[in-house]
């Protein structure tokens, strides 16, 4: 191949010159390839494996952090969710056991875990079932429950209730707030706990299973509603202020729990019963519509049933229409319109979303969609029954088989103590941390380069004064001073955005001195070069000599300093935020996300709340430092290649 090329090349050599080919033919004529310094640096950099890996990781990090937020339109900083706090990483929130999915009797969920019951009477628990603080594992179903045929199950925030076919009531999970243990009236906790009837708690008494209408659990509370309108209710009265109004009630046809209130429908069916005047008594026809007093709104129509989310209650009237009462929830997806003559035959509620099955077999979902609860799959043909967990919905057909499920699968990195998704906060926080670091570095470089060049090139008095100013700034102890400035800033009456901008300025203004000194030293050496003398001889303006002739020659050194300073600024911002003086909650940065974890209990039990954030911060800083170090080695011609 090469031979033929050489032979056929004589024509080309004749007319176009053939120095290259000649060199190839005759090694003694080989000249050393001339490479521009920049090219040399780039080439040297890419020869080092570690640096290339670091660069790739860093670029990935940048892409994740700056493009990632585009893919999380439902994220907002101050998002909190009481029922989703401290959830461990994983996608198990919706993983219905395969055994159960062919034979579903009922599914319930209120917080982190869901409970399911098969027609065979077997109980299944899935989701985030383990609480590291109390060491309670919800999936450890008591033997009594496993050995009996269960007829009803219900799940609260930290307890579960099961009723077997003979009417025995079983409970497991947390017990501290009277979830299922009996308290005699003189026990201390009893004042804000409504105790379970003693007979139910110790198994001597049973519930009439054939007549149970509904079993529901709320936040540490349980209610069993009978067909005759009577009610068993027990649990934490502190979180449900109107609980006393329901104890001993005998005329109810439906009951459900919002986050803080019990809601019911009495046999009068004239509105939502709460036992309190002014609570849930103004009805609306849509989620955000105009509220009208209930008597006026109902106008003789009767309430058939209700379903409650955390703040909002939806009810169905006897003419087939629905109404809403309470605060708006989440992103307020509008209620899908019903066709003429279509009616809801199923109406269920999660923590923020509603789901309904219509007489035409359509599944409609609306309400809060922060965890994609209302993204209904397109093919749900054959659905006859719907079950709602907290953020999940399960559609079941007439064979009791699971048709499909949708909603929140879980969290990649778990949730923090406010119930927010840590992965999303890491992405958002990384954007903030990197932006602050980058802008601070830009500010510090601009100051540092200008001061360095002016001082180094012009010398004399200017140099003296500028170097003293540099000394003043260098003498300021960094972290204490930054702390004080941000403390001062936090007391000024300015918006959060300008505070963050000021933080960048503070970081920039406190870090430029090192660069100024390096640049000055470089300029001092460079101004003795011939090209400067030549430029002077040509009458180029001194300003242009300094900034257009000398500066480009030392830009590689500035680049190194820029890289290393970027890591420093990010670290400083993180340290400040970690101490509570930089960016503050709810805005996430990698520093303040670690703010809450400096105690041994959280470090041990909720490891996911610090491990992932720390890894992101550490990996980014390590990569930047490796890149900076490699650049320095490559740029410095004296540096040993093997170093």
């Amino acid at each position: 191949m090469k031979e033929t090329k050489k032979r056929s090349g004589w024509l080309r050599r004749l007319f176009r010159g053939g120095s290259k080919t000649l060199v190839e033919d005759n090694p003694s004529l080989a000249v050393e390839e001339i490479v521009s310094p920049m090219k040399q640096i780039v080439r040297g950099f890419f020869e080092r494996k570690l640096a290339v890996i670091a660069l790739v990781v860093l670029i990935c990090m940048f892409i994740l952090v700056f493009i990632g937020p585009l893919f999380m339109p439902r994220y907002y900083d101050s998002y909190t969710e009481t029922t989703q706090q401290n959830i461990s990483p994983g996608f198990k929130m919706m993983s219905v056991p395969s055994e159960l999915s062919k034979d579903i009797r009922m599914i319930d969920g209120y917080g982190k875990f869901s409970i399911g019951l098969s027609n065979a009477g077997k109980v299944y628990v899935w989701g985030d079932t383990y609480d590291p603080l109390t060491k309670i594992e919800m999936a450890d179903i008591p033997e009594a429950v496993q050995n009996h045929k269960i007829a009803y199950v219900a799940a609260g925030i930290d307890h579960a209730i099961a009723i077997d076919e003979e009417g025995h009531v079983y409970g497991w999970g947390a017990t501290k707030r009277g979830q299922y243990t009996y308290y005699t009236p003189d026990q201390e906790v009893a004042d804000d706990v409504v105790s379970i009837p003693e007979g139910l708690a110790n198994g001597t008494e049973t519930v009439d299973v054939a007549n149970i209408k509904k079993v529901a659990c709320g936040y540490q509370i349980t209610a069993i509603l009978m067909n005759d309108g009577s009610l068993y209710i027990w649990g934490n009265a502190k979180s449900y202020s109107n609980m006393d109004k329901f104890v001993g009630k005998t005329d109810l046809i439906d009951i459900d729990f919002t986050l803080n209130n019990i809601v019911g429908v009495t046999t009068a069916q004239n509105g939502v019963y709460t036992g309190k005047r002014g609570l849930f008594d103004k009805l609306k026809s849509t989620l955000t519509g105009k509220a009208v007093a209930s008597r006026e709104f109902l106008n003789g129509r009767k309430v058939v049933r209700i379903a409650a989310t955390s703040k909002n209650v939806c009810g169905e009237l006897d003419d087939g229409s629905i109404f809403f009462v309470g605060d708006a929830i989440g992103s307020n997806d509008p209620v899908p319109a019903l066709h003429a003559g279509e009616k809801f035959i199923e109406l269920e509620a999660g923590t923020y979303h509603y789901v309904g099955l219509t007489s035409e077999g359509r599944v409609l979902c609306w309400g809060g969609n922060t965890l994609s609860q209302t993204d209904v799959p397109s093919d749900l043909a054959g659905t006859t029954k719907l079950y709602c967990g907290a953020f999940q919905t399960y559609a079941v057909n007439d064979q009791n088989e699971l048709v499909d499920k949708w909603g929140n699968k879980g969290y990649l990195f778990g949730t923090d103590k406010y119930g927010a998704d840590i992965f999303q906060r890491i992405i958002k926080g990384g954007k903030m941390t990197m932006t602050i670091g980058a802008i601070a570095v830009i500010i510090s470089s601009i100051i540092g380069v200008i001061v360095g060049v002016v001082s180094g090139y012009f010398g004399g008095k200017v140099d003296m004064i500028l170097m003293r100013i540099t000394e003043i700034f260098a003498a300021i102890p960094f972290l204490p001073f930054a702390l004080i400035l941000s403390a001062l800033m936090s007391q000024m009456n300015i918006s959060e955005n300008s505070k963050i901008f000021l933080l960048m300025v503070i970081l920039g203004v406190l870090t430029w001195t090192g660069l100024a000194r390096i640049v000055r030293a470089q300029v001092l050496a460079a101004r003795e070069n011939e090209y400067v003398t030549a430029a002077k001889a040509m009458g180029v303006r001194e300003r242009n000599i300094a900034f257009k002739h000398i500066l480009p020659n030392i830009v590689s050194i500035i680049l190194v300093s820029l890289t290393l300073d970027f890591a420093t600024c990010m670290l400083t911002e993180s340290s400040l935020s970690y101490l509570g003086f930089g960016v503050t909650y709810p805005r996430p940065t990698w520093g303040n996300m670690l703010n809450g974890v400096n105690n041994a209990t959280i470090i041990k039990n909720f490891w996911w709340q610090w491990v992932f954030t720390s890894i992101f911060l550490a990996v980014t800083c390590i990569c930047i430092n490796i890149i900076g170090d490699t650049l320095r080695d490559v740029i410095d011609p004296k540096s040993d290649r093997d170093k």
Partner: protein, 350 residues
């Protein structure tokens, strides 16, 4: 040399003056009016005696108290220059007395109900104690390690140490702390996670020292670990530079033993930059452990400062700040003088 030292001291004084003015102005930006709050508090305590007086009389009494406090705190004038001079102690206050920093009046901590000097005493001793121990441990490890790496440059061990140190100095201190608490307290259960002594005990003698050591062990381990990265790299670089000097080649050519070459010839040459670096580190003994004190709940200067910032104890903050500034200025001065002593070129250049 004498002229050089005097020049440096002169510079330092100017810088200290400028910084003190800057600080003072900064603190006066704060929306705090202590005379006003004190006068209001007085009105509260005098509630009983004031009963039955008209609003105007009350206002008059309040004004009187307010002016009294303003005089006492030296804020009875809007003139910033006068206020500053009063604070330093170069201008008489409303009572005609010089009472400022130069007279030894460092202010009063409102949070601790003590003079600032008394407030600072114990934390300062604690901070100095842990920092000095950490520094000794740090130098004891980094110098041999750095020398070893420089003589085994490019070998597997050296590369390993290089990677570990780059991780060491890239990690923010608080992450190292969290990881160490996790390892040593949660997993191994060797040390208590925070505090300075077992609560409720009052040991004396040896038991006390052992108890204290048990609590300080983890902060000290963490601090030492955090400082390893930077210093090891520095020692290694300095040693590599000095090992490539011509005199080393000559010494080797003469047949001097390798040990002597490294520890006598090369090490001495590398000492100059290392000493200056170590001096800079030494300056940190007053403030270097801010993060650690906060995480491990050690009663030191850093914790005192964060506490003062959170409770807005301004007299304390400004004094701590001035203290840090002066320490770092003196530090730079010492470094410059030492540099000038060991390296005559510096004196000529400047």
């Amino acid at each position: 040399m004498g002229k050089y030292v005097i020049k440096r001291i002169g510079y330092m004084l100017v810088v200290a003056l400028v910084l003190s003015i800057l600080m003072f102005l900064l603190y006066n930006l704060l929306p705090a009016n202590r005379a006003y709050t004190d006068a209001k508090a007085d009105m509260q305590t005098m509630k009983n005696t004031l009963r039955g007086k008209t609003e105007e009389q009350k206002q008059e009494i309040f004004n009187e108290r307010y002016h009294e406090y303003q005089k006492r705190y030296g804020t009875d004038t809007k003139n910033m220059a006068v206020r500053y001079l009063r604070w330093v102690g170069l201008y008489p206050n409303a009572y005609g007395k010089f009472d400022g920093l130069l007279q030894g009046n460092f202010g009063y901590s409102y949070e601790h109900k003590k003079t600032v000097l008394e407030t600072v005493k114990d934390p300062m001793l604690n901070t100095m104690k842990i920092n000095i121990i950490a520094m000794i441990l740090g130098l004891g490890i980094t110098i041999p390690l750095g020398i070893y790496c420089s003589t085994h440059k490019g070998k597997k061990t050296d590369q390993f140490v290089q990677v570990v140190t780059i991780i060491g100095y890239s990690l923010p201190a608080f992450i190292t702390c969290i990881v160490f608490i996790w390892i040593f307290c949660s997993l191994l259960g060797w040390f208590p996670p925070s505090g300075m002594k077992t609560p409720g005990t009052n040991y004396t003698g040896l038991t006390r020292i052992l108890d204290e050591l048990k609590y300080l062990a983890l902060p000290l381990i963490t601090m030492t670990f955090c400082s390893l990265g930077g210093m090891t790299r520095y020692v290694r670089a300095a040693m590599i530079d000095s090992l490539s000097l011509d005199c080393i080649r000559t010494a080797r050519a003469k047949g001097v033993r390798e040990k002597t070459v490294i520890y006598s010839h090369a090490w001495r040459n590398a000492l100059i930059p290392i000493v200056t670096q170590a001096l800079g580190w030494f300056l940190g003994i007053f403030s270097g452990s801010l993060m650690f004190e906060n995480i491990f709940a050690i009663n030191g200067m850093g914790k005192l400062m964060i506490g003062a910032l959170n409770t807005r104890d301004y007299d304390l903050i400004i004094l701590l700040q001035m203290f840090y500034v002066i320490v770092s200025l003196i530090g730079y001065l010492v470094i410059d003088i030492v540099y000038g002593l060991v390296d005559p070129r510096v004196r000529v250049n400047k």
